[in-house]
């Protein structure tokens, strides 16, 4: 993949190199800036933000904004903090990621090792579904969730995320399994191994890397989703919707420090995944764009 080893053969002079480093560091500062602003201001009393300088370190350090964002801040009409919504997000993300990844693995296996007439069409149909603007499905989805009695529930959100996630997971596993020698599958078949046995014994043991990519991609996407959450969340809104409600609330004093603490809370799970498994995260992004 995009391993760091192979550098270009181009050589550069000293002045150019100084310039390169300067630009690269400036951009690093630009990318870090909002993180710094959020972090620093989430541990300040509000008066230091409204009457002070956003870039300055706190004079009085406090965790009160974090406690407030987590358990007492006003979200919509209830002063519950973000905690219940964080739990909603967890309850939604875990099953949705698990189901879509398993389904994607099976689909990828079938589309590469059990090819049939028209399988490229099937894949094409599923692939295109990754790229539709979700606005086109919002209205019928609302109708169907209502009919199924799943409107405003975590189960409803899981269903939505699985349905619109299997295109991507199928894409990942299909491209990954395509490189796996089909002769091995045929040999196992001749030895009498069946469909599931081959999958379980031969493909699954080598699927580790792509499973990680798929899990991370789905986790990030579903955790960060806002459109489905706000449309179908009802009383089971996920974290992103709650954060937006917290920040946009028009009543009372704007507690910027609480907003920043809340924003970091909403970002923590995906940031954590990115820090722990960034390599796979990048790989997933690439696989989703450069299909090959």
């Amino acid at each position: 993949m995009s391993a760091a080893s192979q550098d270009t053969a181009v050589s550069t002079g000293r002045v150019t190199r100084t310039f390169l480093y300067l630009v690269l560091i400036l951009f690093a500062l630009f990318y870090l800036l909002p993180l710094y602003v959020m972090g620093v201001n989430s541990v300040k009393p509000l008066s230091e933000i409204t009457g002070g300088n956003m870039m300055a370190l706190p004079q009085i350090w406090t965790l009160a904004p974090w406690r407030s964002a987590w358990s007492t801040a006003q979200i919509g009409v209830e002063p519950t903090g973000l905690k219940p919504y964080f739990l909603n997000s967890i309850l939604m993300v875990v099953p949705a990621v698990a189901i879509s990844t398993v389904v994607g693995a099976l689909n990828g296996y079938i589309l590469t090792k059990w090819r049939f007439r028209g399988d490229t069409w099937v894949f094409g149909l599923m692939l295109f579904s990754c790229f539709i603007p979700f606005q086109i499905v919002l209205i019928p989805m609302a109708v169907v969730l209502g009919k199924l009695g799943l409107a405003g529930t975590v189960s409803g959100l899981i269903l939505v995320h699985v349905v619109y996630g299997i295109g991507f997971t199928t894409l990942y596993f299909r491209n990954y399994y395509a490189a796996f020698p089909t002769e091995l599958i045929r040999a196992a078949q001749i030895d009498g191994a069946g469909f599931f046995r081959i999958f379980w014994r031969i493909l699954l043991p080598v699927s580790g890397p792509i499973a990680v990519v798929s899990v991370i991609w789905q986790f990030t996407n579903i955790w960060n989703d806002f459109l489905f959450g706000v449309s179908f969340g009802g009383t089971s809104q996920p974290m992103t919707v709650a954060l937006n409600n917290l920040v946009q609330s028009s009543t009372g004093v704007k507690e910027y420090n609480v907003h920043f603490a809340g924003a970091i809370l909403a970002a923590l799970p995906t940031l954590f995944v990115y820090i722990v498994a960034g390599r796979y995260f990048v790989r997933g992004l690439m696989a989703g764009s450069v299909k090959g």
Binding site: T8, V10, Q135, P140, L227, V273, S289
Partner: protein, 297 residues
């Protein structure tokens, strides 16, 4: 050994099993994606207000849609946003990738810094930039406190300029990702070609302009496709950063669709705007996906 009858059944089952396992996914895709698309297209030709109703009105919704000033704003905004977003992200991404590719010390530290915003939700990005750009507490205030008394930066409150703050935040979020795509492309270029050109006396500038950048064509194409797709879908960032305001100055097709469908109870018009969005994305994605799939065969 099993009796011939059961053996036949087993082989038949084995033949059918893959299709059976795939069937639910296909069914779900056909229903929830293509069925729903069809449903929304049909709705766009009906007089639906708060709930779907199937009274045929022909192209009335589309006529109304294109007569609405709010839709014109949305179209103008998406045109400004998408073009600036795509061009700036590509330029920054390409520049950072080329710079990082010069045997830079600390590349391993810089790359993740450029890329981490991609892991964040647009709502988080929007919140961070919203307050950082807020004249009262953010950048303007900071500059004034640092002694630049006349510094003014009120784009986010200015209906002419607010759209550019969305460009700024969106570029912040995705330009690192574009960098990663170009970097992968650069690392895939054969160094022998570069060395040969150097022996022929090409300067670094010529080297990149004449050889490297043309070789990155596939990365440019992928970047364009993925960025235009992200741009047209942009909903969360607008909601979090400007809420479509000031007034309705930063309305986009995605926010327009949502507000007409769910808060203004003009479902027919909302559906027609969604159809326009789909057609725009399809015009970009279908040829791209078709080419990708065809190559594979």
């Amino acid at each position: 050994m099993a009796a011939p009858g059961t053996a036949d059944f087993r082989t038949q089952l084995q033949d059918w099993l893959p299709k059976l396992v795939l069937a639910p996914s296909l069914a779900v895709t056909l229903l929830f994606v293509y069925g729903f698309i069809l449903f929304t297209i049909v709705l766009s030709f009906t007089g639906s207000k708060m709930l779907p109703r199937f009274t045929w009105v022909g192209f009335e919704n589309y006529e109304k849609l294109f007569a609405l000033p709010a839709w014109h704003t949305a179209i103008a905004n998406i045109a400004i946003f998408a073009s600036l977003y795509i061009v700036i992200c590509t330029a920054i991404g390409l520049m950072l990738a080329i710079f990082l590719d010069q045997k830079i010390r600390g590349e391993g530290m810089l790359r993740p810094i450029y890329l981490y915003p991609m892991a964040l939700s647009f709502i988080v990005t929007g919140t961070a930039w919203k307050w950082f750009l807020d004249p009262g507490i953010g950048l303007q205030n900071v500059m004034r406190q640092w002694g630049w008394e006349s510094f003014t930066f009120t784009w986010i409150k200015d209906s002419e300029m607010a759209i550019y703050t969305i460009v700024l935040a969106a570029v912040w979020q995705t330009s690192g990702f574009v960098m990663a795509m170009f970097l992968a492309g650069l690392r895939g270029i054969d160094n022998e070609i570069l060395k040969a050109a150097q022996i022929d006396g090409a300067s670094n500038w010529q080297l990149y302009r004449r050889i490297v950048i043309p070789l990155l064509r596939p990365a440019f194409l992928s970047a364009f496709v993925i960025l235009s797709h992200l741009a047209i879908k942009s909903y969360d960032l607008v909601v979090a950063l400007t809420g479509g305001g000031p007034g309705r100055a930063t309305e986009m097709p995605a926010t327009f669709m949502y507000s007409y469908t769910f808060t203004r109870n003009q479902m027919g018009i909302g559906a027609s705007s969604a159809v326009i969005m789909l057609m725009t994305i399809a015009a970009i994605m279908v040829p791209y996906l078709y080419a990708e799939l065809k190559e594979k065969k």
